[in-house]
Amino acid sequence: MAATDQVLGSEDSRGSLLYNPVVRGVFFQILVFGGLCAFLYWIVHNTQENLARAGRNVSFDFLYQRAGFDVGQSLIQYSSDSTQLDALIVGLLNTLLVAAAGIVTATIIGFVVGIGRLSRNWLIRKFCQVYVETFRNIPPLLVIFFWYLGVLAILPGPRDSFKLPFGSLLSNRGLFVPKPVWEEGSWLVGVAFLIAIAMGFFVARKASARQAATGQRFPVFWTNVALIVGLPLLALAAAGFPLSFSIPKLGAFQATGGLAIGPEFLALYLALSLYTASFIAEIVRAGILGVSKGQTEAAYALGLRPGATTRLVIVPQAMRIIVPPLTSQYLNLTKNSSLAIAVGYADLVSIGGTILNKSGESIQIVAIWMVVYLSISLATSLFMNWFNSRVALVER
């Protein structure tokens, strides 16, 4: 109290601790930090107490018990004798599969449609606009139902499957495509492929060094295409074509042989791709429009041709606008993949739910869900941030 009186009385209040901005800053930070700690402590303590009161024991041992249920689609060897942990891994891989496939497709469609919206052709422009406005304004769940119940479910039954090229079959049981069966000696093809990629990088580096030094250019793109396609083909021939295809055949119930892509995966994959693509299209359009017209004019004035202008001037500048919001869309797509449960696709949430119900270990399963989705999202963010720093405008 005495100190305060003194402060009020004195002309210069800067000497007082109470009005010192540094001290006040530290004080409030300590206050907030302490509050946060107390809050976290309260949550953890409360949880432990409640769990103890409910007689629940939090342990992850149940993951090593026999699963006992089968899963429709699995990328790894799995049977009902596998552990529940294996089942969760199957679910995680299925989530990653649909997310990765969806991200690639959504990006391609999104870029095409986004550029299409800026086309000089009225028909293309309007078509792209209708696409964006339709898919952007429908909840993703309904898009999934549309594909699952509206398109795939009304396909003919397995015995009257549509016959597609290369012996593929399409029915309400999904798409059955020929499956490559690699026989002995096919490792050579894989090795050739890896060598081709390594050589591709080498060629690109050499070519750009040569262009910087002498101004002479080298057809890098076509050389690399020839390398990546040609070298494995050569290897295949050298090994005596150790490759055959398993062609799907109509069976008593559904097609046997070949690679089965279930309608659940197809519905989810198509819906997520088309839905997210509509957002990506708008991001791409905004990115391109965000580059000022003066840049194009300046490039033309320097004598660059339109193709080089787009490639060297417009796109690099558009990318730095496009990439950060693109990251959010990738994260959205990954998280929306948990809507799989509506169509019975065996993703992480769906399989986790089955285990939760069987074992009753809800808290652990919910924790696993959260940690896994958080990890996937953070990994995606990290990669996209790295990519963003590559494409970001370098100021000199």
């Binding site: 949550i43 953890v44 409360n46 949880t47 899963v71 009304i154 069976g251 119900n357 919910v366």
Partner: protein, 342 residues
């Protein structure tokens, strides 16, 4: 990492908002003035909204019977429609007081999940249904190798299915949904060749298909599915109330006490009937349970005896027309048997 997990656990637990089992469920129910009962989201005959939008069915009548025993008013029930997956969580976290949702009694549900089954109100078994019009020539489950099978997740059915096909060396691809409505729609649209669940459920589901007559239930029964109402561990009094409500329904059928004649039966000279209906001098069976002496009278007045509940909802008085079979009274060659009220 460890702290992250702990924080998540905390957040998850906050979400649960645990108002856990206080010891005296009966007091809670009386204080709230309503019994909270988890039922199926929609399984015709067992629990489904009727044309007035009220829940009705075999399991629903069990909720009503318990409400009648406590309040003498079968309408004092708050129904929580649950999927196979979340029925246990709502009971464990105290959102409901009991579950009557065609639930199979198993050891792990008794122990790991921490529930008590109050009896077996329906002896069921898992079966298979196929579209006989599309799949002609199939009359046994052993011919189903390579089929895709629709099944609801979180059920014993899903696990029996895996065991049955494995032990018979048959291939199949499971098509798994969370909600019974989704399974029905997928089967009806031809996504699967086979629908598997408890046989009672198959008969009920067949009624709702586009062309019920095209579908047949195969003869194999691959499991025991004793269905019954269940409560949480930790409150024996409440467990007793639900258990003896079920027993009273069976005992009433044994003695021929029906919804129509229960008042008349109160004047019976038969000492056993008098005791059951609380007419014995200085009787305290009801009060020992925590209920009134006329608890059985109230139950029967509200929903009738076990036989009446059965026939009205799933038996001859219903579109399902399920025969009593093993669910008949022990005196008539069935398995329904109740310990005496004494």
């Amino acid at each position: 990492m460890k702290t992250t997990v702990k924080v998540m656990l905390g957040a998850a637990a906050l979400g649960l908002a645990v108002p856990t089992a206080s010891a005296a469920t009966l007091d809670d129910v009386k204080a709230k003035g309503v019994l909270r009962c988890a039922v199926n989201t929609g399984l015709a005959g067992f629990a489904a909204p009727n044309d007035k939008g009220e829940f009705a069915g075999f399991d629903v009548d069990y909720c009503k019977a318990v409400a009648a025993a406590i309040f003498n008013d079968p309408s004092k029930v708050e129904y929580t429609p649950t999927t196979a997956k979340d029925r246990f969580e709502v009971l464990a976290n105290g959102t409901v007081d009991m579950v009557a949702r065609n639930t199979t009694w198993t050891l792990s549900r008794d122990t790991t999940l921490g529930f008590n089954f109050a009896g077996i109100n329906y002896y069921d078994g898992q079966g298979f249904m196929i579209n006989a019009k599309k799949l002609q020539g199939i009359n046994s489950a052993l011919q189903l190798s390579g089929a895709s099978v629709c099944v609801q997740t979180g059920t014993t059915t899903e696990l029996n299915l895996a065991d049955y096909f494995k032990s018979n060396n048959l291939d199949y691809s499971p098509v798994v949904f969370e909600k019974i409505e989704e399974v029905n729609a997928a089967y009806d649209s031809g996504r699967c060749d086979v629908y598997t669940t408890d046989q009672s459920g198959l008969y009920s589901i067949r009624l709702g298909l586009t062309a019920p007559d095209d579908h047949v239930v195969l003869p194999e029964i691959i499991s025991k599915e004793p269905l019954g109402p269940l409560v949480r561990h930790g409150d024996d009094q409440w467990f007793d109330i639900v258990k003896w409500t079920h027993n009273a329904l069976i005992i009433a059928e044994e003695f021929g006490i029906t919804q129509a004649n229960v008042e008349e039966m109160k004047n019976s000279d038969n000492p056993e009937i008098k005791r059951v209906l609380g007419m014995e001098e200085n009787s305290k069976f009801g009060t020992d349970l925590g209920l009134g002496e006329d608890w059985v009278v109230n139950i029967i007045k509200a929903v009738g005896n076990y036989g009446e509940i059965f026939e009205r909802n799933i038996g001859s008085g219903s579109p399902l027309k399920i025969a009593r079979g093993v669910n008949g009274l022990w005196t008539k060659g069935g398995l329904q048997y109740a310990p005496p009220i004494r």
